[in-house]
Symmetry: C2
Subunit: 519 residues, 2 copies
């Protein structure tokens, strides 16, 4: 890794590479253009976006023609890309104009919230009532597409296709990819990036075919080609946006079940699929994080199923959940779906879990902090970090009895470096600190808003839903509700939380420290 | 530190030393005997307790006449003492008989809860309605005394007076004392123990005199000699028990203000007072933990004062808090008092904070996790650990930019060992894991109890109030309420939480691992 601490930060170089990234990303709006043509809708918002991206890209590229990407410039490239791209992603919402957002806040803030929520695969929305009556199919498809682009990582995609980024490619991918560090699958980082994107595309196509196929053979409802593609585009990136106002509740039980394995796959380390496709299936099945990931989902699902089946987890005051208590298929389906949706940080809903008793919501709230696997598109803390924490706990218990027998923590056959453990602990503590501070700030802000009346649990869910890139929370921000009523400062603060959450905090916090800018 | 890993655990030796401790502790019930004689109440419960302690002590002492206390035996001595003493401490409640507890659970479980809550300085109660009409003054004084004995540490006291414990004394005090490690003030550990207890006694006497004196000069109400002594006995150990059913709300504003500095002192590292008395005041005023402790209390107090003063932090539905919003003295007093009571984990209440809006309760709930200083009697996580976490965060930010510049974390002039940092992180993670698991278990259990109907926030408060040795929580376990309605298994589980919380988890968890018992 090239370390360049002996000179100033070359921010012009970083910005110029952001320009290159944006220039190539101008191809993305062509997909909603096709959708718009097919449905006879306006292509203007997307052509305009493409034009703006090309223009901004070319302008930024002028800032430097250097290409020696140092350590600190790579940080800046990643953080800035994830700010500039969501900002440019607002253009379709703004050009589509009135009616996109019904909330009280001016268009740009809502558009930025929706765009950042898209690219960061958060899935929180400020659209008050989502429907094809008020929104064009092309615009809603752009919303889905933004999650798909952000999921596997725009910079990973650029490393795959741009030779300019091959030098700092490994660090760029490390900063952008969730988890502790990216696994180099091939000697050349560019080919690793390509392999990951190929698997991602393949799984997305498979999901669309399965969703559509189930409907085609009569097991589904409402899942035409549009919905199949739209939902495949937000399943694999653990995104959770849906053009259906009632999310996955809009589909048949068979289709709801079909979402579960794809969400689980989306929360798995994609490198493991690469090995499995290469014949090394044991690299997947024997992986410590993968096993813990399945085990923890199984455990939480069992607890929630019991709560729903017995009726303890259903709020007495709610009439529309009558068929769940005592119905094992319903209880198991809702629990399995919702646990997969929350642990992987996808954030779909198969029912309005606002109708659950707070005991079930409390279980779910704690699950918000788990996160999927490293090397997936999942947000939040990630299972691999919890695995390391658990192993460090066992070691401490052992060494407090046998103080002379300090051994490294092992995952599989590998000894984990002490500094990796340290980084894991620090990450978790920064994450929890941000959660606590954000809960209080957003809760206080909400007191000034008519129409939002949060309990303590619900206020916590607002903070973790955005910081953990999960999407929905409880109460006013429930899965069938919207963040539209929050104040503009609160929305901008949540934009910050989604941004910092997607980049796993450190990449962003670092550029906010004086030490970063000092030589 | 004597390490004896080459032989079996000599549990008979540990038990025999528990016996010695218990034998000497038989002097403690003589204080409520004096109270009973003065008020013309029955002395039987306390004479019986003394007799049982002597008998059990002598019996246990027979188990071994060895005195070579090894590393693992010291663990066992500490953990077992803190189980045996609270069990013996139930005798006064049980002998005093019917009427002590009004809850539905049989006497022994309630008695054990109250006794463990006393000695661990938790202050949660299962007494439904506390009053001199139903409880003797002597019994309520025993309840206060149990907190005072547990505060500075029974084993620290025994190290101070028993030559048998001078060999393993340093380790024993480390296991028992809250915080990372005890500071050796003098070359001989026995003298350190004596110094700490002398300061503790002195401050207790001072508190009693101030409480009584304010009343005597006409600034108080209701604070006779009995109440002055009783509250001094639970202020310095950060205990929080009160013979008044309405806690410190029973006293005048002047007396409520007077509690604040004593709670703050009680949550301070007592070693710092030793230095200050020795003329080295800068050791107190310049101490990093002490400064952070004051700063964090100031910050939370400012936030709460603002919430109460503006009325945002007051629940609209509550009529009896009318004078607080807009009244700066009231707002500031309630905020200052409650923040000091919660951060130091004392748990007194100057008003029923159940009438606060959940936003103010959420702020307070987060403050439950702070804890006072190491080397005080405070529970929960402790400020010094948060100071180290903050410094480790800063270091990580710095080293992710300058990876070659890894420096040790410093507190004051001292470099902190990496293994100390590791232990701090592990402690916090075990603490939080226990919090999460306990919240869910106790919440689910509460669903089966008529008369307890917890929100998510309130359920969390049940777990942290007991695990963090704070005392009261929100809702059904609010400061003027009681834990009496919880099921017997839930109460026994909370007994476990108070026990493990007081000993800072590791000392207890360790003896539950197979590695501890294997040679
Ligand atoms: K999501
Ligand atoms: K307490």
């Amino acid at each position: 890794m090239a370390v360049a601490t002996d000179r100033y930060v070359d921010y012009r170089l970083s910005l110029s590479l952001v320009g290159t990234v944006v220039k190539y990303l101008a191809a993305a709006p062509l997909f909603p253009v096709l959708v718009a043509i097919y449905y006879g809708e306006s292509v203007v918002p997307f052509v305009a976006t493409s034009a703006v991206m090309v223009a901004v890209g070319l302008l930024l590229e002028q800032l430097s023609d250097d290409s020696d990407l140092g350590h600190r410039e790579a940080f800046l490239l990643v953080s800035l890309s994830w700010l500039v791209i969501p900002i440019l992603g607002t253009v379709p919402y703004l050009v589509a104009g009135n009616g996109v957002f019904t909330g009280p806040v001016a268009g740009p803030v809502n558009a930025l919230f929706e765009s950042m929520s898209g690219f960061t695969t958060t899935g929180s929305t400020v659209m008050g009532s989502i429907s094809f009556d008020t929104h064009s199919r092309a615009l809603l498809m752009w919303r889905q597409l933004s999650q798909w682009l952000g999921g596997m990582g725009i910079l990973v995609l650029m490393v795959a296709i741009l030779p300019e980024l091959s030098v700092g490619g490994a660090q760029i991918m490390n900063e952008e990819a969730p988890g502790i560090s990216i696994e180099k699958l091939t000697p050349r980082i560019q080919e690793t990036a390509r392999a990951l994107w190929k698997i991602y595309v393949g799984l997305t196509v498979l999901a669309a075919l399965v969703y559509f196929g189930l409907d085609a053979v009569g097991l589904g409802t409402n899942m035409g080609a549009y919905n199949a593609v739209a939902h495949a585009l937000t399943t694999l990136p653990t995104g959770g946006f849906s053009p259906e106002g009632r999310s996955v509740e809009a589909f048949s039980p068979a289709i709801q079940w079909a979402f579960v394995p794809f969400m689980v796959v989306a929360g798995t380390n994609f490198a493991l699929f690469w090995y499995a496709l290469d014949g090394r299936v044991d690299k997947l099945t024997g992986n410590a994080e993968f096993r813990s990931y399945l085990a923890v989902m199984g455990l939480v699902t069992a607890a929630l199923t019991a709560l729903l089946f017995t009726g303890l987890g259903i709020s007495g005051a709610t009439p529309n959940v009558g068929t769940i208590p005592g119905n094992i298929e319903h209880s198991l389906r809702q629990a399995t779906f919702q646990v997969a949706a929350i642990v992987t940080t996808t954030g779909y809903a198969s029912m309005d879990f606002n109708s659950w008793h707070p005991v079930a919501q409390t279980v779910l709230l704690f699950a918000f902090f788990l996160g999927g696997s490293a090397g997936s598109a999942a947000g939040s803390i990630k299972i691999v970090r919890w695995v390391l924490v658990r192993k460090a706990m066992y070691r401490s218990l052992f060494t407090s009895v046998h103080p002379d027998a300090v051994e490294p923590v092992r995952v599989g056959d590998e000894a984990v470096a002490e500094e990796t453990l340290r980084d894991v602990f620090v990450f978790i503590m920064i994450f929890l600190t941000l959660f606590v501070v954000s809960t209080v700030l957003l809760y206080v802000d909400s007191l000034f808003v008519d129409g939002i009346d949060l309990t303590g649990l619900q206020a916590m869910s607002v903070a973790i839903a955005t910081l953990g890139n999960v999407g929905p929370g409880f109460g006013a921000v429930g899965p069938m509700n919207s963040f539209e009523l929050f104040s503009a400062p609160a929305k901008l603060y949540m934009v910050f939380l989604m941004w910092i959450g997607r980049l796993e905090i450190l990449s962003v916090l670092v550029i906010l420290t004086p030490a970063y800018w000092r030589s």
